[in-house]
Each structure stands twice: as C-alpha cells, then as structure tokens.
Amino acid sequence: MKKLAIAGLAAVTLAGCSDQQEEAQVLNLYNWSEYMPQEVLDRFEEEIGIQVVYTTYDSNEAMYARLKLLDDSSQYDLAVPSTYYVNKMRKEDLLMEIDHSQIEGFDNLDPELVDQSFDKDNAYSVPYLWGTTGLAIDSDAVEEGEVTGWADLWDQQYEGQVMLTNDMREVFHVGLRVLGYSGNSTDPEEIEEAYQKLTELMPSVRTFNSDAPRMPYLEGETDIGMIWNGEAFMGKEDMPSLEYIYPEEGVIVWLDSFVIPKNAANPEAAHKFISFVLQPEISALISEDIGYATPNLAARDLLPEEVASNRTSYPTAEDMENAEFQEDVGDEAMQIYNRYWEQLKTGR
C-alpha cells in the first residue's frame, strides 16, 4: 500500500509537470484589465504563431508587487506599468533592456513621448498608450455646466453618488490638486492635509473601482466621479449620457509603457509583440477600440475622423491646461500614502 501511495503521488505530480511543459510558444502578458482588444491578441497568435496568455491587474502597486514576488521565476514576459513605475522598476533593476534592433516601428512614436527623463533613450520601455484621468458625470442626473473641477465632488448634493478610481496615487492626486499642491507631492504634511480633505469626501463616495471604472456609471450606481478617458469613451457607446470633463484644477496625465521583466522567459516573443503593436494599423485599432490615445503618430493618421477629433481620447491644448504628469514619489512617500489610503478606505 505504501508503494501504491508513492506510485499515486508520483503519477499525479508527474502528470502535472508534463502538462506544463507541453505548452508551445507562449507570451505571458501582464496588463491592466480591459486594456487590449481581444482582436489584437488573436491576430498576433494567427500571424506570428505565439499564443498570448493575458492576465490582468488593477493597479500599478499590484503589478509591481507581483513582478517583484515572481522576480526570478520568469513568469511574465511583458508588463505595462505607468511612467512613474517604469522609473522605479528600472532603478531597482527589475527590467531587461529593450533590444532596439529587434523592435520595428519605434520611429512611428511621437517624439514628445520618447526619450523622457524617466527612461533616457527608452532603454527599458516602449510607450503603449497614454491617457488622462478626469471627471465623469451622468448628464441625466447631473447638470452639465455645474461640474467644472475636482472640487465639485465635495458638493453636498452628490452625497452617495461619487465614484473614485481604486488607485491610491490618483485619488491623492485629486486631494492634493484641490488644495493647490502638486499631485506628486512627497511632503508628509501635504499628504496628510490631502488625506484630511479626502476624509471629508468619503461620505459622498459610493465605491472605488479600477477594474472597469465605467461600470458603476453604467450600472446606475454612481452619477459623478473620476474616470479614465478610455473608459469614458467605451462607456459612452452604451450610455450616451456619460460625459467626460476636464477639471479646471487639471487632469491627471499618464503614459503606460511596455517593459520586459528582467527574468522574462521569452524576451524574443516580447519584442515581437511590441513590434506587432507598433504597426500603425494595430495601434490605430487599439486606440479606436478602447479609446485611449496612441503615441504612434503614424497610427493617428489612420484613425477615423470621429476618433481623432474626439476630445475625450485626444485632448486639445486647452483641455491640457494645468494638467500634471504622474511621477515616481519614492518608497518613503509611498509608505505614507499607503497608510492613509488604507485608513481612507476603511473609515466611515
């Protein structure tokens, strides 16, 4: 019977091992939820012959923690952090250098969005999409002219109708901007002040959502709050009364880039995927489908007029007034943010 037990054990575990090995060429893509049309993945598989395993996260923090956790087990081949995390991960030696000789179509990218201070010469990252975090209202429930800035969220009449993204940095960004500080503050006192300000907002807040920030509006749970521009774009298709507003204190701007984790198992496939997305046609398809702005200038020429001139996806210079780019604030400040963040979400 002991033999039987050992045989059984071996059989079960061996079967499991072989099951894992038989997989063909695979690219493990770790991305935000709803941030890549299925069509792109299907076409990549069809044209290049590499299967994409798509797993998702809903915050930079979760993505970073997971990559850090699995650092040496080479489980992910490609991830899409926001700029400030590219910087952080590069400094911490978590990324593999991009081999630009394997990348095609890099020249298509907007010169204003490459070679930035967070990653000189794009040694570690290739821009994927950029976008803004602004205000959304359901114009059936909220007067359109009434909401012009972040500060309007604090208005008593919206009690119980406000939605915030489930993103620590973004929510504090709003708090800091309303107080007139930089959204990238590292000053503990400013952060605390922002926290105090945000606690005043909390009774109005119904829910935090970063999985699909358009859904609470679509489901009728909230009428006003934060949203990502692409989500506003997608939401409008199902709900015409969903309006995207550029707050007068300034929108939050971010750029998400492809990075290859240091111990990626299949960097070759990762490079191929980046090149694939950089094709103007594919980049245009992505921007058209999920409503974020593509940094790919060649793709922008291919966009249909109604997308290219859509102010939600492609803001005008006027919309970008006071806009602030998200930056790395360092681990120390992050700890402070974190502590207040948890308290904010649990407090009543």
């Binding site: 915050s59 997971r66 850090k68 489901e219 749970e221 308290q343």
Partner: protein, 286 residues
C-alpha cells in the same frame, strides 16, 4: 486495537503525513511568525533588525480602527447568523426524521456552489437597477431606488449568505442530540417553558453555539472578495488588509503580524470552545 499490517506500512504512513504537515503547515506558519518580527524592506521583502514594531503598528489608532471595524462587521455577521440559525436549527430538529435528511441536503447545496458566483448573484439582486429595486418600484412601493450595493449592510448580507450553513449545522447537531426526555424531565419537575429554555436548552446547546461562532466569525473576517464585490472596495475586512500588505503594499512583516492576530483570535475561540465542552462534561457527570 486491530493488530494487522506490518510495521513498514505504519511507519510509511506516519512519515508521509508528518512530512506533509511539517513541511506545508508547521514550517510555513513558523515562517510567518518569524516574518512578523522582521523589518519591512523595499527591495527584498524582509530584512533583519528584529523588532516589535509590526505589532506596535497594529495598535496604531489608524490600523486599530481598521481591525475594530472588521471585527465589528464579523461580529454583526455572526450575530445575524446566530439569530437566524438558532431557531432554524431548532425547527429543523423537530421535523420528521425522513424529511430532515432532505432538508439538510438542501442546506448544503448552496455550500457546494461556487462562493464567488453566489456573491455575484447577490449583486444582481441588490444593484440600484437590480431586481429588488425594479420590483419594488413596479409595485409602486418606492419612487427612488434604494441604495443597497456598496454599503456596510451589503457586505454583511453577503457574509451571512455565505456563512449561514456553517452556523446552522453545528447548532442542528446539538439540537438533534438534545433528548426530548431531558426537556420533559425538566418540565415534570415543574420548570416553566422559559425557565426550561434558560436553564436546560441554552447550556446544552452552548457548545453548538460556540462551534458555530467559530466557524462563522473567523472566515467572516477573511473573505476579502465580499467587500471587493459588494462593498465597493470599502468596508474592508482584516482579510483585505492582509492581502493588501502581501500583494500590493509589500509590507510583509506587518501583514504577517495581522495574520498572527487572526490566528490568536482563533486560538482564543478554540480554547473557549474546549472549556465549555469540559464544563458541560463535568455537569453531566454530577
């Protein structure tokens, strides 16, 4: 005792199970205990100076409030389960024996269904445009939809829904054991209904109550997906805090300390349970 299979079998089995438990239960738990005394390190998850800091920050008013709130929601959940479950178990134990089996079967069917899916089903009902609101509005009982989803109440409803069978089953088993004769005896001796209840029924069912509390209260504080789905990522539980420390904030020592608090709470409940059983045993002998 059965004498039987030869020694190698016995040794083999014991080695196997002990190895498993030591490697996958004891060792990891020791690791967590160890981690809780270390310092958070942004690079590698843990670093050396041994410290009590993590336990101290549990008492920090900021986090203490988080824990107390979670404990509060867990306790309300447990209480609701008890209030619903106690009379339920009693009523169940009085149904004819043949039917009892079917009823218990019906009670565990939901338990065998995916808990996420069940939580999601509650969302369908409680959403602002959901079925309850639509129904009430069509009946003309309300004009404005009730805001049910993303509230503390929604989280508690979700927890009760998932955990109720765990309260009912142990209660049912004590009620089932509670012999009718005992009640009759007490009745014959002149005790009134209420007095019978207080002096006989309550003490005898106490172990069941405690077992139920144990099976409900602890999971109620750990089921992080319920606040995620029904609480709008607010009204967090200890489980959310621990998960967040491990998977988002990367403060493992603090997360470990929080987990140990939860384990200690379990130990305390187990101890109370044991104690009550022992006392009951003594009384029975007297």
């Amino acid at each position: 005792m059965l004498r039987g299979l030869r020694q190698p079998f016995r040794t083999g089995v014991l080695v196997l199970v002990w190895t498993w438990l030591l490697a996958l239960v004891l060792a990891p738990n020791l690791l967590v205990i160890g981690a809780s005394f270390l310092t958070r390190d942004p690079g590698t998850f843990l670093s050396l100076p041994v410290t009590l800091e993590n336990y101290r920050s549990l008492l920090d008013p900021l986090y203490l409030e988080v824990f107390l709130h979670s404990l509060y929601m867990g306790s309300v959940t447990t209480l609701v389960c008890l209030v619903i479950g106690y009379p339920f178990a009693w009523a169940l134990s009085r149904v004819a024996k043949e039917r009892q089996l079917l009823l218990i079967f019906l009670l565990i069917v939901p338990f065998w269904t995916n808990s996420l899916v069940r939580t999601y089903a509650l969302k369908l009902l409680m959403a602002t445009n959901g079925l309850i609101n639509t129904g009430l509005m069509e009946m003309g009982l309300i004009d404005v939809p009730l805001r049910m989803l993303y509230t503390e109440g929604a989280v508690i409803v979700g927890l009760v829904y998932l955990l109720l069978p765990f309260m009912i089953l142990p209660l049912y088993s004590v009620f089932d054991d509670l012999r009718r004769e005992l009640l009759m005896a007490s009745h014959d001796l002149g005790a009134g209904r209420f007095s019978t209840f207080i002096h006989v029924v309550v003490p005898l069912t106490l172990p069941g109550v405690l077992a139920g509390v144990m099976l409900v209260l602890l999971p109620a504080m750990g089921l992080f997906f319920v606040p995620d789905i029904l609480g709008g990522s607010r009204n967090l539980l200890v489980g959310n805090v621990i998960k967040n420390q491990f998977l988002d904030a990367r403060d493992w020592p603090f997360g470990a300390a929080a987990a140990i608090m939860l384990t200690l709470a379990m130990a305390l409940l187990l101890f109370t349970h044991r104690l009550s059983q022992r006392r009951l045993g003594e009384e029975a002998e007297v």
